[in-house]
Structures are given as C-alpha cells and as structure tokens.
Symmetry: C2
Subunit: 347 residues, 2 copies
C-alpha cells in the first residue's frame, strides 16, 4: 500500500475498503455477541490483532468497533468486574509505513497499541497469546507470484497478461494452488497464536459462484490495467517481456474454496461464512480517475518495483481513460463484486 498521506496514499484512497468493512460491521458484532465466549479466557488483557492493517484510518475504526463489541460481550456475560484492558497489535509487512500509522493513532483510544512488522504468511505472535484476530482486504494478497507463470515452457506461462482473469485454465489453477498453499500456512500460524475459543474474522474480495473472474470488478480492472501496459509495450515505452514477467499477486476465492481450506486445516470451527455484495450500493462512480486512484493506492508499489516508478503516472492516466471507455463493462461487473465474510473459532 502507498504510505504517507499524499494524494496517492492508501490513507486517502481506501474508501472502498472502508465501505466494505462498514457493510460487515453488524456481522462482526453478531459474531462477537453470539460466538465469542469471553468466560473461557482466563487472562487479562484481551489481545486483538489486525493482520494486514495498512496505515489507517480503516484499521482504527475496525479496532475501536471490535473493542466496543467485546466490552458489550463482557457486560452481557455478567463480567463487568472482570472487564479487561485491551492491547491491539497492528500487523503489516515490514515495508508498511508504520511511522504514518503510529502518528495517526487515535489519541482517545481505549487500548494499548503495538505495531508488528512481518508477513502473516509466517508466525507473528507467541503461542496462545491472541484472543481475536481481524483481517480485512489482505488475505487475497498471495505470498508470491506462482512460479509457473514465469516459465516459458509451462502451459501456465502468462504471456501478455498480468493476472488470471481472461487467462487459460492453467493460469487460474496456478493462482488457486498458490492461494490454497498460502491460506493453509496462514491458518496453521493463526491456530498456534490464538487461544482456544479465540476467533478470527476475515473479509476478502471473493468470486460469487458462476461468475468468471473476468466479469468481477477487479477482474475488469486488472484486464484494463494489463491492456494499458500492453499498449505501452507496443508503443515501445516499456518492454513486452517485462509485461510477460509481471503478474499481480492477488486472488479472489469462492466461498466453497475457502470453506474447503478451513475444513482441511481442521483447527477452526466455521461460525459464519457467507458472501456479501456491497459493491453495487457502494461504488457509484466506478470508473475514470476515482477508479484509477483506488487501484494505484494498492498497486503502485509492486508495479513501480517491476517497471520502475517512471511509468506510473502514464500508466494510470491510460488506465483511467480506458476505464471510462469500458465503463459499461465495469458497470455490469458490479454484480460480481462480492466479498467473503468468514468468522472462525479456534477449537
């Protein structure tokens, strides 16, 4: 994510993620009210973590919301006198802009704050030390691009594209396999870190059944971004081989795929797992500059790392124009714009 607080920062271009999280507020509250048994936690304090928190303000709103819901649960369970102190662990990659995150921490917060640098595809916390984990719009980031995509001799070589949208099945399978692998590692690590009875709530972009990736909002956006890069390659502004070797390490799973992965892992009960469709209500003007800014805030870093930062302005200018040109496709993709809400409990 773009750090700082400038015009292209994630901080100023994360409205979609905020709205998506807002849409699930009630579901988070219900999960805590109905499924989190705070009586089984012996220790003070109550520790919660946001995995892939980026730089706020979304993470602060989410953490505040969860703290308040847990406080209500203590009251509801007749444990007013045992109300714990709260400690919140804000996690993201080492390269996340923790300085900006820390500088914008709410002064009136009701918790002790920590930053935890590192990939959530690895262990982050001591054993049985966290009571509640939250991760919004983060787990769809793969730990790496599947290797086959870069192998010219593989049927999964992803020539001329930057994602599995509109790609051969082999490419989609490679993405899916990487996601399966990453989620297994993620769940194993979280199973160690959560106390028994502790919960994890996941929000991730997802694909509804029967909708091909190429007809989801992000699918259309990735296709347009790929086409913009290919246009630039054809004009000689970048090298076509550079496009061939670039792939976005993100993946939208289906509800069924995620359910299978949790069951296969075996450490969690699925308390709730359902698709929510916030996009159509939330994104009114899903094209042009706004659309470009949204994508840029999340993707600029990895694009600049591969192609150099010199192409960024030009690329997103072209992308914005394309998103106006293909606004009908973006518009009709809204019905494929789902996110998956998963509430899991540590057995």
């Amino acid at each position: 994510m773009n750090g700082g607080d400038g015009p292209h920062s994630y901080l100023n271009n994360s409205n979609l993620q905020r709205k998506a999280t807002d849409a699930c507020r009630t579901m988070i509250e219900e999960a805590i009210a109905q499924k989190l048994d705070v009586k089984c936690f012996s220790s003070n304090p109550f520790r919660l973590a946001d995995l892939g928190c980026s730089v706020g303000p979304n993470t602060f709103k989410a953490m505040q919301h969860i703290v308040e819901a847990v406080e209500r649960k203590y009251l509801a369970q007749g444990l007013k006198s045992e109300m714990p102190e709260f400690q919140v662990f804000f996690n993201d990659h080492v390269a996340n802009d923790f300085n900006t995150l820390f500088a914008s921490l709410p002064t009136e917060r009701r918790y002790f704050a920590c930053g935890v640098p590192g990939s959530f595809h690895d262990r982050l916390f001591p054993e049985s030390s966290i009571h509640f984990m939250f991760s919004s719009h983060a787990l769809h980031w793969l730990s790496k691009v599947p290797e086959e995509l870069l192998d010219k001799n593989s049927p999964a070589w992803n020539r001329g594209r930057i994602h599995c949208t509109s790609a051969p099945d082999e490419v989609s399978h490679a993405y899916a396999a990487q996601f399966d692998h990453d989620v297994e590692i993620f769940l194993n690590a979280r199973a160690k870190e959560l106390v028994v009875g502790g919960m994890i709530v996941l929000l991730i972009p997802a694909l509804p059944n029967g909708i091909p990736a190429s007809q989801s909002p992000f699918g259309v956006m990735f296709d347009l971004l790929g086409a913009s890069l290919m246009d630039m390659a054809k004009e000689g502004l970048i090298n076509e081989a550079q496009v061939d070797s670039f792939n976005l390490p993100v993946y939208a799973a289906s509800r069924e795929q995620m359910t299978d992965l949790v069951k296969r892992n075996g450490c969690f009960t699925i308390e709730r797992m359902e698709l929510v469709y916030p996009t159509s209500k939330l994104v009114d003007r899903f094209c042009g500059n706004e659309c470009g800014m949204l994508l840029r805030a999340g993707m600029e870093g990895i694009i600049a790392k591969h192609f150099g930062s010199g192409i960024i302005d030009e690329l997103f200018d072209r992308f914005s124009k394309k998103s106006v040109e293909f606004s009908h496709q973006l518009e009709s993709s809204k019905r494929g714009g789902a996110q998956l809400f998963a509430a899991l409990r540590r057995k």
Copy 2:
C-alpha cells in the same frame, strides 16, 4: 534521535551508547542470573521491553543479550522443558523512526518483535504483562523543560544558557524537580506493567558525588553548545531571545537521588544500584568532529524544532571547533563521565 541511516543518523552515531551498554553486559547477566526468579512466572511467553529503544543496532544487541541470559536462567533453574517463547516490545516516542527500526530487525532473532509508540512517562502496556524491562540512555530525557526556566520573573530564568550546567542553583533545582517528577511517573507506570518478580534494568548518564555538572563530559559539551549558540546570536545569525527560551531537556542524576526516588516510590526492591565509569576507557578522541556527530545525532531534532533546521550545519561546525579549542576541559571531564546502573525488582 535522528532517524534513517544517513551520516548524521543515530544508527551511525551511537557508538558511545553501545560501548556504555557493553560495559554493563556482565552486570545485566548477573542481575538476571542472581535476582530474576523465573519460577514465579506462570505464563508463556516471556515478554520484555526496551524503553526508549531508538533505531538500533544497540537495542537489538541488548535484547538478544537479555533473551540469552533469561534462557540460561531457565536452564539453571531446571526449567528446560518450560522454556518460553519470547516477545520483545521496542518502545520509543511516536516520532521515532520505527520504519528504519523494523527494516533493520535481525532476521535470525529468537523473539517475536513489536513496536510500541509512546512516551514512557505514560502507560505503555497492559497491567502485569511484562517480565523484564530495559532502558538505556533514555530516562535522562525529561518529559518537558521545567516551566520556570522560561519565566523572566523567576530566579530560575535560564538566560543565555541551554542547560543547568554552570547555572544558578535555582536552575539546577528546577531540573532536579522535573526529573524527580518524571521518574515518579515512570516508576508508577512500570510498577503497573511489570509482573510481580519482574525486573527493570536502567542505564542512565549520572553524576558522581562531588562532581559539578559543569565538569562532566556532557556538561562541558552542553556549555560549548550553548556558547556556540550565543556566538551565533551575537553575530545576528539567530535571535538571543531564542537562546534564552531554549533549554535541553536532559538531566544527569546522582546515585543518591535515584536511590531516594525508588525508595519513595515503594514498589520496587533495589537489587543493584551503582555508578560505572566507562568514559575514560571508551572515549579516546572525545573532541572535534566525532564529538559533534555524537551530540548532533541525539540533539539535532529538538534544536531544529526550536531554531529551524537552517542553523544545524553551522552550529555543529562551530561546536566541533570549540570542542577542539577546549579539548583540555573535555579531557579532564572524563572522570565525571559516569553512568548509573540500576536493577530493580517489582515487589
């Protein structure tokens, strides 16, 4: 402290602090081996904190050293099978460069790492959640400049000086009172956060009995820095009133003062409290550019905040020249260059 890894960074100009900490390695080991009863800690993990950690590498060396000493203590107490995981909390002000700190975390560390932004003159951690705390060259920073120093009608008005060195008694008393107040707040907060039996080791610059502040190494340096500022004021490069209203918020306590403060607080037993004199062996060339770089890495931020960053190069250039001119004073000040080692245990 100056962030980043440039020529004026704390990272590249903290040799003195490192040597001072190295000199106390054995004392830290002894405190853990002799006074830390890990049998009384029921919970896994073992949590430790560095208060005022800055940006490394000193803090990484210290934390690694403490982790290893605690591991040895578990073995010595026959608790090999109960060896805990370790979680280290790196604390410093919100303005500390946590991005640099996190990027330079040792990859081979044997602990889970967290950053904790905030002043240690306030609560930082949940109740009874930390087993060992360490603070090196940090507690001598006052939470603020004593207000009387800025009051033209007070006998403590510190006109033409930037510290209590070579100042009237009223100025020294104002500094001492602020330090007393800050340490009381510090100890109260730590008493809440440490588990019973948990320990805190403090290393701070200190004044030996009978040595006036003006004859200690930092006293001489502060006097030379103040004189450099006054020279610049006389030449019209800065305003004299700016110098009058600037005071360094640092203070070197005596062993007796610190002992009194811990006793008055009442929450800790003093396991060890003694002065160590590392300066004479450690600082060979205690003048000129090296001396200026050392002071600049620690003080540039607050000086630039008050006077503007435009004067920094000129000021430290003048300071370096003065430190050569007055090298005999710096040389003879070495005998006043002590630090206080305090090992306290939570009752």
